[in-house]
């Protein structure tokens, strides 16, 4: 366990090293937030109560999205690019020479990264958003705690999805295509473009049932107090279920990959 704590700490530090990149990220998230916020204002003044949100809730959703964009690596930028590159070049061999579990290793590192992104790239845009707009911030500290739990689960699901994507490089040699598809899918199905409860019918049902809704839609609904009591536990169970299923799938794929695969290059 101490090893994985150390790996998580180093994951945190690696991202903390790049201060300019962090500042640029905060800036981008903030600009994005304003653009989306005004779009949502236009939309919600035409259609108040769209998706069951009032305007303050919709704007809160926007700024939560910006705060969690990097945390849940919804536009990529996590460990997966590095892992794909290591598989492509054969550097993965070095990881296999170590007495560690590959998946836990990358999970720990990604949790460290996510924590840094949550603090370093999440808080500032959220504060700016709440100063510029009227947001629906929860008053009950327990809701904040529940939100943090939902974010943590969302990060694990996000990791599990990206791990599967990265492992595909063992077969495809270049995982960039799959990564891009996953990124596009993630942008839409996480609720980053529009809250998923806005979508009607079967598409809406499907979008809400897919793992990506764990990244943003579920944490946001917890934050907005839409999911309380037994429904809150249901939200956690939904995220944890996806996390376990996808982590399990990752383990199977990892076992197959390391057994049959030829490590590239001398």
């Amino acid at each position: 366990m101490r090893l994985y704590a150390a790996v998580a700490a180093s994951g945190f530090r690696r991202y903390a090293t790049y201060r300019v990149a962090t500042a640029a990220g905060v800036f981008t998230n903030t600009v994005f937030g304003f653009v989306l916020a005004y779009t949502y204002i236009a939309l919600w003044s035409e259609r108040p109560q769209l998706g069951g949100y009032d305007q303050a809730e919709a704007l809160t959703f926007v700024w939560l999205g910006q705060a969690l964009l990097a945390t849940c690596a919804m536009m990529g930028g996590g460990f997966e690019d590095e892992l794909i590159e290591r598989i492509r070049t054969g550097d993965i061999a070095i990881d296999l020479y170590r007495p560690v579990d590959l998946q836990l290793w990358w999970l720990a590192g990604d949790l460290g990264r996510a924590l840094f992104h949550f603090l370093g790239r999440g808080i500032v845009p959220m504060v700016i958003g709440s100063l510029a707009f009227e947001l629906a911030l929860p008053g009950d500290p327990l809701v904040w705690v529940a939100f943090l739990v939902a974010v943590a689960l969302g990060v694990v699901v996000s990791f599990a999805v990206r791990y599967l994507v990265a492992l595909s490089a063992f077969w495809l040699l270049d995982g960039a295509g799959v990564a891009q598809i996953a990124w596009l899918g993630g942008m839409f199905f996480s609720g980053m473009l529009l809250p998923l409860n806005v979508f009607p019918g079967a598409l809406g049902e499907l979008a809400r049932a897919l793992p990506w809704s764990s990244f943003l839609q579920v944490p946001a609904d917890v934050f907005l107090g839409k999911r309380t009591g037994i429904d809150l536990l249901g939200a956690f169970a939904f995220q944890a279920g996806w996390a376990l299923a996808l982590i399990g799938a990752g383990r199977v794929l990892q076992a197959v990959a390391t057994k049959r695969v030829v490590v590239q290059g001398g």
């Binding site: 101490r2 090893l3 150390a6 790996v7 180093s10 530090r13 690696r14 090293t17 790049y18 054969g90 550097d91 061999a93 070095i94 296999l96 020479y97 170590r98 007495p99 560690v100 390391t258 057994k259 030829v262 490590v263 001398g266």
Partner: protein, 330 residues
């Protein structure tokens, strides 16, 4: 730092390889859609043993099967046939257990974390290999001293020079006291001073701690300075396994006698020697490496006006190149 206890299941043989094979199926495009499958025998029936504490050179041209062998010795590739044991462990079956007992250095790759200071990578190694605190401290101090890493510990790895990074990588591979060390091109791209530092360190490590070392390299000076035994592999087969000196006989190598005569003369006639080149008063004579040069020298000195002479030992590089050529054109 203590020597390792004798615990190998194979007695004193630390690495045992018996009729090892690795076959890859390669698909080749032969038309627009047609693909032909053919088999590549990357390692084709290799057998050898390495006793504990020996330092062995493992050489061969690119694509000979060196890296494939190393990958099977570390367990990241499963052999197609044959037997491998490293420190009594079957690598492919027990990879994780084996990783605690071996160290691996790839000249072309790094185990260090690019964005982090060197010391952070070492701290991760400490946890990863669950090295006892005191022993970790001792090993680190020793590596830092001998590999001159002191001033680099707080430098992010991405800012290190190639030589510095390589020394950092070697240290990283040794913090958990591995019994067996695989070195793949440990001096590639290094300048002369860095090469010397690395070689000296490896020689001391082997002498003081009895670490078994398998060294893959293209730099034959590495072999000449470090290994008494050398294995040559080509096309997946072991072509030579023995003392470095023996390579000369096998490779039919020749020593060169350079004679300076008092005047320009036609090629000298000396029994047991062959004139390679004449350039003014200087002539180059070839003698089989196994034969003595003395009779030739005597013959030349008695029949010709000899001014000066020198003997050049055969170049190991030429010997091996000749071996590869012979093999390629049977």
């Amino acid at each position: 730092m203590s020597r390792h206890p004798e615990s190998s299941a194979d007695g004193t043989d630390h690495i045992v390889v018996d009729d090892l094979q690795k076959v890859f199926d390669v698909r080749k495009k032969t038309g627009l859609v047609r693909r032909e499958k053919h088999r590549v025998r990357a390692v084709d029936g290799i057998s050898f043993t390495v006793p504990r504490g020996e330092m062995v050179g493992y050489i061969g041209p690119n694509g000979a099967g060196k890296s494939t062998t190393i990958k099977m010795l570390t367990g990241i590739l499963t052999p197609s046939a044959g037997r491998v044991r490293v420190a009594g462990i079957e690598p492919a079956r027990d990879r994780t257990r084996l990783t605690r007992r071996i160290g691996v250095v790839f000249g072309q790759r790094t185990t260090l974390w690019w964005d982090l200071p060197l010391i952070d990578s070492y701290r991760l190694m400490h946890r990863m290999y669950r090295v006892e605190d005191r022993r970790f401290r001792e090993n680190l101090d020793r590596c830092v001293e001998l590999l001159e890493l002191g001033e680099l510990l707080d430098t992010p790895v991405r800012q290190l020079s190639l030589g510095q990074r390589m020394r950092g990588d070697i240290a990283a591979a040794l913090l958990h006291d591995p019994e067996v060390l695989y070195l793949d091109e440990p001096t590639i791209g290094l300048d002369v001073i860095s090469k010397t530092k690395v070689r000296t360190f490896l020689r001391d490590l082997n002498a003081e701690r009895g670490t078994t070392v398998l060294l893959t390299t293209h730099d034959l000076q590495d072999i000449e300075q470090l290994c008494e035994r050398v294995m040559v592999i080509d096309h997946g087969r072991l072509m030579y396994d023995g003392a470095l000196a023996g390579l000369h006989e096998i490779g039919e190598s020749e020593r060169t006698l350079v004679v300076d005569l008092a005047e320009e003369l036609p090629p000298v006639d000396a029994p047991g020697a062959r004139v390679l080149k004449v350039e003014g008063p200087r002539q180059w004579l070839a003698i089989p490496a196994a034969a003595s040069a003395a009779p030739v020298v005597t013959a030349v000195a008695s029949a010709y006006p000899l001014v000066d002479l020198s003997v050049r030992e055969p170049d190991i590089e030429a010997v091996i190149a000749k071996m590869y050529e012979d093999r390629a054109a049977p």
